[in-house]
Amino acid sequence: MNDYLVLMKSEWLITITIFLLLILKVRGEMRSDRLLSIAQVMLLIATIVGFLFNRYGRLFGSMYYTNPLIGFQKALLTLATYLISLLCADWFKKTQHLAEFFILMLTALLGMFLMISSGNLLMFYLSLELSTIPVAALANFDLEKRISSEAAMKMILSSAFSSGVLLFGISLFYGATGTISFSAMSNHLSGEPLQTLSFIFLFTAFAFKLSVVPFHLWTADVYEGSPIAVTSFLSVVSKSAFAFVFLIAIYKVFYPLEKTWYWLLVITSIATMVIGNLFAIRQQNMKRFLAYSSIAQVGFVLVGASAGMSSGTSSVVYFMLIYTFSNLAAFGVVSIISERSGKENMTDYKGLSRSNPFLSWVMALALFSLAGIPPTAGFFGKLFLLTAGASRENYWFIVIATLNMIISLYYYLRVVRSMFMEKNDNPIQSVAIERSVYFGLILCGVGIVVTGLFSWLYQYIVSLI
């Protein structure tokens, strides 16, 4: 019984929060800022508890399993959700259905937890759907905006399609190996064509969620149309969760197909970096810009993932931690500015540093980190990803990745330049920053600096593997 409590502590805490919010909502009129603080406190508790008491264990006849690394990954996802609840406070307070929003978001988070912990293809599929469908509803949350409904529509249709392919892959797998349990499956893998085909179908499901080219097309439309809280949830929490599951899948389950997935990763990673960069260069809308740039970032994650077991896992988890801080800080700034001034275009950001020095510095720090400029954490993150990838001694692949890193410098720094160096006749007025948003931005900023400078964090992650 104890096992069910301790091993599933993150799931329990999130479930309790969901029910708490539900009851409060049903009971009656509670002010939404009250609800928001309750949700924030619960998420903070879940984050802290998430980092503690992590150990090995299996439940439900190996349908569910966990270990210290998985515990850490869940804590990381909770942390990201907590940061979102801080950073988008402005938008949350305005919305009519705050409790519903959090219930849906936390349900998706719960789905991701179960997905990371799943030990069986069926469990994996169910939790994947649990993590997807609520997000489609969330995308529709700007009820009065047509673009938001369009985003939700596109997302649910694309997801349904992707799920179809995934289910097809799973059934082919069952046919080829006769089992759907992860641990039993790896013994049956030999690399025959049917297995390769079903693996590729499975891979497309991950690729779709991670917005890997050419399965990324839904990303930009959905990111642009959804409320920023949803966009940041999709681009940070959802991406991290799927990256973690993907690592488990290729290293633990599909290791016998190593040759296939290595080259699959090389090809899709290059395509993703190149296409992501090409599109990001052209974007004028900040949300769309961040969406495409986050596609390119996933390309780099795949470089690290291609390394194999230990260095691959440690570098990807470490990078996702840094990416969480950096990307959320960038989205946080965009969210405040778009809430307060309604401006989302890059040209509006000209001269931002005069009127809003704090926001500009946080944004600059976040963009430096995303671009991988030392001494921000992003530099170390990319460094470890590339060195992990280089351990395969496939150097031209690393050279291409490095070239793409340089290209990405251009568009990240373009934003910094327009914030700090260009003049604007009609600048964004100085905006008031709420206390919780301020706190969230500071947390992200500290995270960006500290994660890079103190190497014990990386060593801690390595020690978990």
């Binding site: 596109k154 249709l157 694309s158 392919v165 439309d221 090809i267 090409l278 599109f279």
Partner: protein, 646 residues
């Protein structure tokens, strides 16, 4: 052993004062900035002396041998279980000696600047930069691994760039700071490659382990390093030579010395600190730090060190004889003296009998810091009085500046190697070491030390005698009136008198065992006579105005002109950079850049634009098309991997 926290405070206190003054200097501290920095540095200096004292007399020795002790270490970045970058504090005889020299000389300069720089517009900034420099230099000497020393090495470069360019409204100063930065950066490139080579073969960055692995003939790293060669020279020799290249850049050794004379554009106290006592000896320190690697595994590189050192010593001395700007004379004399330290290291070898040169070099580094800082600080006062750097504008000012006069005389006697001043003892050891090892070097060194005595006393007589007394309007009160200005002079003068009596070989040697440095009286007669001859020659030519110098100048016109123009080394650089690099490399490169690279970039840019427009069609906004691409992607990959990638 003292708590490592105390040792860490030695470099960190100046960093604190840099942070405070950098952030709040101009708004909060204003005129108190100097005092704040000085007080913090006093603490740091006391700690440094205390740590050094304890090291030499209490905890440093084990079985009569001075050990390399790691007093504290933090892992900063770990790459693998084998390789990590640490930040550590290393105590050994030379680092203990250096923390004393650096903090002490820096303290003198801080005190001197309190009144010398008073009224400067950017007074707090000046002290902030000074503190940054002191921090970097102390961090450099305490470094326990190659990477750390490189970081501090660059920080020293940056802070010296900031200090040389302190008068940023003077074009000369700006140019000089850039020149110093670029020339040393160029040398640092070699240093970095050297670090990489050495750490590649030893598979570590840590000094202790690196030295151990690269000197033990049985270690696999050394074997591969000796076996692999490039252009007929072993990898370990290449590594050592490249590290030495970095050292030669910072220490202004021929042919990388061209930045040093120009760097005199900075404030004079800065020259005393950076270009006399501390930064320029960093190169010597670096070679001494890796001395076991140089001497045991790459003796050929020590021959290069000897050659470069002796050439720099002689060349700089000859140039110094013809310069008329007093700070430039001092700059060339610094270069010459560092040449002495270098070749003294170069003639030393590992082993008890042959390591005299090592101790001698460190000894000279120590004594030189005192008298050369003193000379620069005196020069600062003189320049304030005369409002010119030209020695022809000076003369007969010994009554205007009585304290400065005596101090300057003491320093000149010390640098000329006249007993009982400090320079005599250290130079004596250097000459003995070179006599044992290489007679040619000895004779050149002896000649150079005669020339040194000559040009230093030429400087002395031309400043303080040469013209009738009272030639300068007397406003002595303003020039050396302040006690704060006189105090460091007197302390340094006492140092120049007494430091020679320290039995240096007992404390500092290559392998940690005491070296006997008996003063050989018979041997000393020669060098002292040569020194005296130089002094009397200078006295005959320059005590009073006469036409003898002109005659000599005319008699040796070719040599004089060559030396006056610093042997045209600057011109050679200009020729190489402008004519050869610009015309033969630069112009074709520019053509290539314009037509091929730009063309490529433009094509890439255009292609990107076109492709980007084309694939914009991909992003049509229609979900059914997205599904098609999804299916095509999945199918394409499946075909590729099932049929293509067997």
């Amino acid at each position: 052993m003292p708590n490592s926290l105390y040792i860490a405070c030695i470099p960190l206190l100046p960093l604190v004062s840099f942070a405070l003054l950098g952030l709040f200097g101009t708004r909060v501290f204003k005129n108190l900035s100097g005092l704040l920095a000085t007080v913090l540095l006093v603490v740091s200096t006391i700690l440094a002396i205390w740590v050094a004292y304890n090291y030499f007399f209490h905890f440093g020795q084990a079985n009569g041998i001075y050990q390399r002790i790691i007093a504290g270490q933090v892992t900063w970045l770990r790459f693998s279980s084998e390789l990590s970058i640490d930040m550590g504090l290393m105590l050994d005889p030379i680092s203990c000696m250096m923390i004393v020299v650096v903090s002490f000389i820096s303290l003198m300069v801080h005190i001197y600047s309190l009144s010398y720089m008073k009224g400067e517009e950017r007074y707090p900034t000046y002290y902030a930069f000074l503190s940054l420099f002191t921090f970097s230099m102390l961090g450099l000497v305490l470094s326990s691994n190659m990477f750390q020393i490189y970081i501090f090495w660059e920080l020293v470069g940056v802070s010296s760039y900031l200090l040389i360019g302190y008068y940023y409204d003077r074009p000369g100063a700006v140019k000089a700071s850039q020149k110093a930065f670029i020339v040393t950066r160029f040398a640092d490139l070699g240093f970095l490659i050297g670090i990489l080579v050495l750490s590649f073969y030893s598979n570590t960055l840590d000094f202790n382990t690196l030295i151990e692995r690269l000197t033990n003939p049985a270690s696999p790293g050394l074997k591969t390093a000796l076996a692999s060669s490039f252009l007929g020279i072993s990898a370990i020799t290449w590594g050592s030579v490249l590290v030495f290249m970095g050292g030669a850049g910072k220490s202004a050794m021929f042919p990388l010395h061209i930045w040093l004379p120009d760097a005199m554009e900075g404030p004079t106290p800065v020259s005393a600190l950076i270009h006399a006592a501390t930064m320029v000896v960093a190169g010597v320190y670096l070679v001494a730090r890796l001395f076991p690697v140089f001497s045991i595994s790459a003796p050929a590189s020590l021959d290069l060190v000897t050659f470069v050192g002796v050439l720099s010593a002689l060349l700089a001395a000859l140039i110094a004889c013809t310069q008329t700007d007093i700070k430039r004379v001092l700059a060339y004399s610094t270069m010459s003296q560092i040449g002495f330290m270098m070749f003294s290291l170069g003639v030393a070898r590992h082993g008890h009998e042959e390591q005299l040169g090592y101790s001698a070099s460190m000894f000279h580094l120590f004594t030189h810091a005192f008298f050369k800082a003193l000379l620069f600080l005196c020069a600062g006062i003189i320049i304030h009085l005369v409002h010119s750097n030209e020695m022809n504008d000076m003369g007969g000012i010994r009554k205007n500046l009585p304290v400065t006069h005596i101090c300057f005389l003491i320093a000149c006697l010390a640098i000329s190697g006249i007993p009982p001043f400090a320079g005599f003892f250290s130079k004596e050891e250097i000459l003995q070491a070179s006599w044992q090892r290489n007679k040619v070097v000895f004779w050149i060194a002896l000649t150079t030390s005669g020339i040194t005595a000559f040009y230093m006393f030429r400087l002395y007589f031309k400043i303080f005698w040469h013209k009738p007394l009272g030639h300068q309007a007397s406003h002595a009160d303003t020039a050396e009136g302040d006690t704060m200005i006189r105090l460091p002079l007197v302390i340094l003068a006492i140092g120049s008198l007494l430091t020679g009596f320290i039995p240096f070989g007992r404390f500092v040697s290559a392998d940690g065992t005491p070296v006997h440095t008996d003063l050989n009286l018979i041997f000393s007669v020669g060098p002292v006579l040569v020194g005296l001859a130089g002094i009397f020659l200078a006295r005959w030519l320059y005590l009073n105005k006469n036409d003898a110098p002109e005659k000599i100048k005319n008699g040796t016109r070719a040599l004089y002109t060559a030396a006056y123009h610093k042997f045209y080394i600057d011109e050679i650089y200009v020729f190489i950079t402008r004519r050869i690099i610009f015309n033969l490399v630069g112009k074709p490169a520019a053509w290539f850049d314009r037509n091929v690279v730009d063309g490529l970039v433009n094509t890439t840019g255009n292609t990107t634009q076109i492709v980007s427009k084309k694939i914009k069609g991909l992003q049509s906004g229609k979900v059914q098309e997205y599904a098609i691409y999804f299916l095509l992607g999945a199918g394409g990959l499946a075909l590729l991997f099932i049929y293509g990638w067997k």
